[in-house]
């Protein structure tokens, strides 16, 4: 019930249609901040946004590859992270300085303890 009514209220000020399909990004980020054990849900929702955009030949919204890549980095999945940071940079040239810096961090041989997942 709530949603359609809220949408109605937004029509008065929104000046365009949705540009991107954000999936559950907002609510899952909120859910994660409310309960940090819901990191898995946030991660899944970011992956879903990327998958959906791929299926629909749509643009992944700004920041989503990077957010997902950062969660990968935190889990020690550094090569996945690098791949995602490169995707962010390729799609959004504005992110180049930041992504280059993060790619360096994620590619460092022994960056910090968080990256220990790479060692055998």
């Amino acid at each position: 019930m709530l949603l359609p009514v809220l949408l109605l209220s937004v029509v008065g000020c929104a000046t365009q249609h949705q540009r991107y399909d954000w999936g559950d990004y907002d609510p899952s980020l909120y859910g994660y901040y409310k309960d940090p054990t819901k990191l898995g849900e946030l991660s899944a929702s970011l992956a879903a946004v990327i998958d959906e955009a791929g299926k629909n030949h749509a643009t992944v919204p700004p920041g989503i590859y990077a957010e997902y890549g950062y969660l990968q980095l935190q889990q020690g999945k550094n090569s996945n992270a690098v791949e995602l940071f490169k995707q962010e940079e390729n799609h959004w040239p504005e992110s180049k300085v930041f992504m280059d810096r993060m790619i360096k961090v994620a590619s460092a041989p022994v960056a910090n303890t968080a990256t220990s997942g790479r060692t055998p």
Binding site: L6, S9, Q18, Y25, Y33, Y70, E88
Partner: protein, 219 residues
């Protein structure tokens, strides 16, 4: 002002009533000089007593800025990276030099937001929920203020039994509030919409919007 114009203006105000009343047009001179393409949202200052407000608010701000046509840096990642660099204190970051953030992130502009109010007051038969926010966008190149806005969104569901969209929204919000804790998210989203999307006071279209650089009549 002619009567017709007055009526047109009044109906515009009514149309935008869901967002905010119509304050005077913002001066976009500096904004137009710089034409920012990217926005970095830094940690939000919290003047409310709800310690979770800045995090919750952060979950509402990326999408409306990106939908306006800007590249928005990944808000959660930026929050973590800044924390790793010892920059999790919002007051410190807000007092700092936007130019330094520009170097770190390669952003054109930095969005400084402070939560002035984020509270619910219960008095016998009425509930008042208030979200009040200040937005300041500064250039990471020149350090100049490019844009600012102030929003107050108040809900007093029991007193808004009038018809129309406002009444419907109030009723819906009232239902949400009836639950254990008040839900600030719709109010925060409405504040963001009112700050960002209104002609004359909002943010001009960003580079990923077809109107980029062509909307000077409205902004």
């Amino acid at each position: 002002m002619s009567i017709a114009r007055k009526i047109a203006l009044l109906s515009l105000v009514a149309f935008f009533g869901g967002c905010a009343s119509a304050p005077p047009r913002y001066n976009y001179t500096q904004f137009r000089t710089e034409g920012p393409r990217s926005i970095l949202v830094v940690p939000v200052i919290n003047k409310s007593i709800d310690v979770n407000a800045p995090d919750y608010f952060l979950a509402t701000i990326a999408t409306p800025l990106a939908e306006r046509g800007y590249y928005v840096f990944p808000v959660n990642m930026v929050k973590s990276v800044l924390a790793d660099d010892g920059l999790s204190d919002a007051n410190l970051v807000h007092a700092g030099d936007p130019h330094r953030l520009g170097e770190l992130f390669g952003t054109d502009a930095v969005m400084y937001i402070s939560i002035e109010r984020w509270d619910a007051k219960y008095v016998v038969l009425s509930t008042t929920v208030t979200v009040e926010l200040n937005y300041v966008l500064k250039s990471a190149h020149s350090g100049e203020t490019l844009w600012k806005n102030h929003q107050v969104v108040v809900y007093q569901p029991q007193q808004s039994s009038g018809g129309g969209i406002a009444g419907l929204v109030a009723n819906a919000i009232a239902a949400a509030i009836a639950k254990a804790a008040p839900n600030y998210m719709p109010l925060a989203r409405q504040a963001n919409g009112g700050a960002i999307n209104l002609k004359g006071t909002g943010l001009p279209a960003g580079p990923y919007d077809g109107m980029f650089g062509k909307d000077s009549a409205d902004f």
